[in-house]
Symmetry: C2
Subunit: 365 residues, 2 copies
């Protein structure tokens, strides 16, 4: 099973290739792009242990000279120091303008490798080989690359498009279930904001909460349609001026919950799941969509093993306050993405604070 | 006297405005661009001492909120650490996507401020206010931004276009004469590679070796035509695939001389001057252009107070060897830009090493 999604950016068109066991064909997928012979494979030791040999063998077989660079796993290493270390390897190994940086890993590795590729020699070739569901359906598409500043996430970065995104769904078999579900939160998001058909297919599945619950066919559909959704949205708005905002569905209250719980108790996907539940309820209360739709959304979130309630430890007014300092706030008004039906949303800054507060209170467990 | 050069890049068109005493109008020049109210003015303490107040007053008068950031003068500070410090100021002062980074200084300040602007929040507005002749006619145009790696110059960077380049030729009155001449080397380069008329006007001037030698009218012409030449070339080849290579006229042997003298004895402009003399002689020996043209070129270089001979301390075969490890070498062949007449050059990799050696020997003083 395999699919190709062409991302039709005027200046930098590229393909997203989705095929089971394609990691073993990495080299063959890159060859037609006519890039230089030197590749820098960036990964974490953990991921490299499992998938490094397969990637390297296929690259060597296709005639590439492979240099490895490791970054320890985890968001804490997503900083400028790690980028400086990639530069050091690049200079020591004499990587050239025609060389290619390959990210083999989750969103953290992808964002950093992309930023290093964007800025080494003012831009070398970049290829994404995402190994988490979140990186497959979200982080690897859209050209956002970058690192964190000690004072805030993703403050340093560049828009930089890859030459290829190669997705091998079979690598998800080793992904911890909580990480898998974090990716599923974004998948459900695409179902609500863009692709009602994807939503229906997810609804039809008996189980969804783990890699082993899902047939190869359904997984291929999930990844392909999600990538297509994100590619559609970002192609229409490459530099994030308006439409792209809909990708923040569930993220408004989600981000507030993540930051109030110190980015540890609740992970990004879980926070987005709760954020979608909250946004869905706001939409119902504003009569934007029928309550049956809200129930369908929440059932799907539950079936995926994601949370639908807010920890009682969080103070509701703290959430409302946190919204106001979020960067998506324009002139004091909080911008919400709210569904009008499954598969469609609107952008609005007309949600009264009391309504947000009440919805948050209702969702306390 | 004032000129406007529109740089017609398909995605990021902008203007180069050249006008005497325009620094005092900086704010008024920016206002029509409809950017955010916050500006970060990046400069060195030395330049700020002379021109900072004028710039800030005009910005404040136009309603901007100005934040200052200082980087010590000099190429040694052109590194990732200085960029990290700009980020720290940006986060501390809550600069936003709509904010504008302004570079007030020479090429070092311009390259760094541009790179910080390219990578802060994945790109904020950027304005160049070059204060050296080299930065006016070369560094501020073309979108190359970046910093040095300990192992090599300009290895880290991005292509990022400014929203405006504002050139006030009158600030050159405080520029040390050696820096002024370094800029003149690039001006003469444009005369040879692109604009024969500019060359003729330079030839017609009685004196050229210092700011005070040159009339306001001629200086305006020099800067305008040079900017136009560079803008023409880079607009036709934004990402440096082929035509842009002609900007390296004089730089092939020039770079070798710079690096063999440790970037101190001979500055960039002086090295380029010598490099043009060498390339001109190679062209004569290959019968590409008449020896009268070579003589006219060399006379102009001399009138500008730039060197035309190679220090005898440098070994000629070291120069030939250095050419081969330069990054402009493709598959072992050294690429030369050679004039065919005043105002026109060709790109060739067909110059025999013996010829290069002999020419270098001839130029020894
Ligand atoms: N660029 C974008 O548009 C974008 C979008 C969303 C998120 N992001 C970024 O992505 C990052 C989050 O990405 P993530 O969720 O992939 O996290 P991650 O990269 O930290 O990966 C999560 C964990 O899974 C491990 N892992 C990865 N693949 C594995 C596999 N196949 N088997 C076993 N373990 C595996 C990793 O080592 C890591 O410990 C954040 O930094 C976020 O800012 C970027
Ligand atoms: N981006 C590009 O396309 C490009 C092109 C050419 C060069 N460059 C870069 O530009 C840099 C060289 O630029 P530069 O020659 O302007 O050097 P510079 O920025 O170091 O300035 C030279 C010196 O002049 C001083 N100075 C600047 N303006 C002054 C003024 N008006 N009065 C008195 N003193 C003043 C500076 O403080 C400095 O000491 C190099 O780093 C080079 O890599 C970039
Ligand atoms: Zn998300
Ligand atoms: Zn130069």
């Amino acid at each position: 099973m395999s699919s190709i999604i062409p991302v039709k950016l005027p200046q930098n068109p590229y393909n997203i290739a989705i095929a089971s066991n394609s990691l073993a064909q990495l080299g063959a997928h890159i060859s037609p792009l006519n890039l230089g012979k030197k590749v820098l494979l960036v990964s974490s030791p953990e991921i490299f242990d499992i998938y490094g040999e397969m990637a390297i063998n296929s690259l060597k077989q296709a005639g590439f000279e492979v240099i490895n660079h490791f970054i320890p796993a985890g968001e804490t290493y997503k900083n400028l120091d790690s980028i400086a270390q990639i530069y050091d390897t690049a200079v020591a190994q004499r990587l050239e303008r025609s060389s290619t940086f390959i990210a083999l890993g989750g969103g953290v590795i992808g964002d950093m490798t992309g930023f290093a590729a964007a800025t080494w020699l003012r831009g070398v070739n970049f290829i994404q080989v995402p190994t988490t569901l979140l990186a497959m359906v979200d982080a690897s598409i859209g050209g956002k690359t970058g690192v964190n500043h000690p004072q805030g996430k993703n403050l340093i970065g560049a828009f930089y498009q890859p030459r290829l995104v190669l997705i091998d769904p079979s690598v998800l078999k080793t992904l911890p279930v909580r990480e898998f579900r974090a990716g599923m939160a974004e998948v459900i998001k695409y179902g609500i904001i863009w692709d009602g058909d994807l939503f229906t297919q997810l609804e039809a599945a008996e189980k969804l909460a783990d890699f082993s619950d899902i047939s190869e066919t359904l997984l291929q559909i999930i990844i392909t349609r999600s990538c297509q959704a994100k590619a559609d949205v970002v192609s229409k708005d490459e530099k994030e001026s308006n439409l792209r905002a809909i990708l923040n569905y569930g993220h408004t209250i989600g981000h507030a919950i993540e930051s109030l719980t110190g980015y540890s108790l609740i992970n990004h996907g879980e926070a987005v799941a709760i954020g979608m539940v909250a946004a869905g309820k706001i939409a119902t209360k504003l009569n934007l969509w029928p309550s049956e739709a809200e129930i369908r959304q929440n059932n799907l979130i539950q079936k995926t093993g994601l949370p639908t309630t807010i920890p009682s430890s969080i103070n509701s007014s703290e959430i409302v306050d946190a919204l106001k300092i979020d960067k998506k706030v324009k002139s004091g008004k909080v911008r919400f993405i709210l569904p009008t039906q499954i598969g469609q949303v609107i952008i609005t800054d007309e949600v009264p604070s009391e309504l947000i507060f009440n919805v948050v209170e209702e969702l306390k467990r």
